[in-house]
């Protein structure tokens, strides 16, 4: 998978490495901005209130 991506990146090794870094940064940005904030409330790590379990006041 990673080998396939690496082979299909344009340019020489240096350019490929630079594009790879940009791709990784972009993916991390998307994860931190969209994916994780979406996923976090679905996971039971941040509930601090007592609410009888109806979820209305959990967080």
């Amino acid at each position: 998978m990673y080998g396939f991506i690496w082979r299909h990146l344009p340019g020489n090794t240096l350019v490929k490495a630079a594009i790879s870094v940009l791709l990784i940064l972009g993916i991390v940005y998307l994860l931190f901005t969209y994916v994780f904030p979406w996923a976090e409330p679905l996971l039971p790590f941040g509930d601090v209130t007592v609410d009888g379990g109806d979820g209305a006041a959990s967080g």
């Binding site: 931190f32 976090e40 941040g46 601090v48 006041a57 967080g59």
Partner: protein
Amino acid sequence: MQDDETAQPVGPGREAAPPAGRGRSRALAALGVFGELLITLGLVLGLFVAYSLWWTNVQADRAASQAADRLRGSWAAGPTAGPSAAPGTTPAPGAPSAPERFAAGDDVGFLHVPAMGRDYQVLIRMGTSTEVLDEGVAGVYEQPYRAAMPWDQAGNFSLAAHRDGHGAKFHDLDAVHKGDAVVVETKDKWYVYKVDNTLAETSKYDTGIVAPVPARSGYAGPGRYITLTTCTPVYTSRYRMAVWGSLVRVDDVDAKRTPPPELRRS
């Protein structure tokens, strides 16, 4: 002899190499992709931990400190009532600003708990929704029991905040013990509470701990109480913990906002 024995099983395999080898290399490639997916999953989960325990703190602290500056700015701006008052409205002259109504999302004041750090200060905001608590504030319960405000004659000023992530404002709540001071700062009053009891662990369904007279707190009748709740143990939301205090004193805020002795001592 031994060499012959070990070489023999390889022989037939090599003869059948062309058809079987192609399938095998395809299987290996699939295995390789599977392995890379697992590595990717591991990296993403690691990033999620970094997001939860670090990045949400960065974001929440930034949001909370901006909101705190706004609140202190509005206090310094003059005698107009707090953030719930629309700009331009003039409050009745001489009316105390304390009994004003706060709506969900309004900033009330600051919570000071010296046991959680020398300069520990958390913004207090109405509501315990995810949106409120994720901004790095201590939220005032509106359900299942509507919290009484510190200036109310009786009731329980119950607060919740995150143990980890999103500011982690109550991360060290287990460091608060009986006898410690808890101070609520509003525009013109310091409400000084003393911790009377703590509860190390209870169910998340135990809503009685934020009742007007909190269950299991040892309080027998109505009074002016404060309750701090968060989740426990750290990094999980399995149980809840609580710290209860009762009002000791109300000090007026002077022109220089000199803190009460409980906050100066440490």
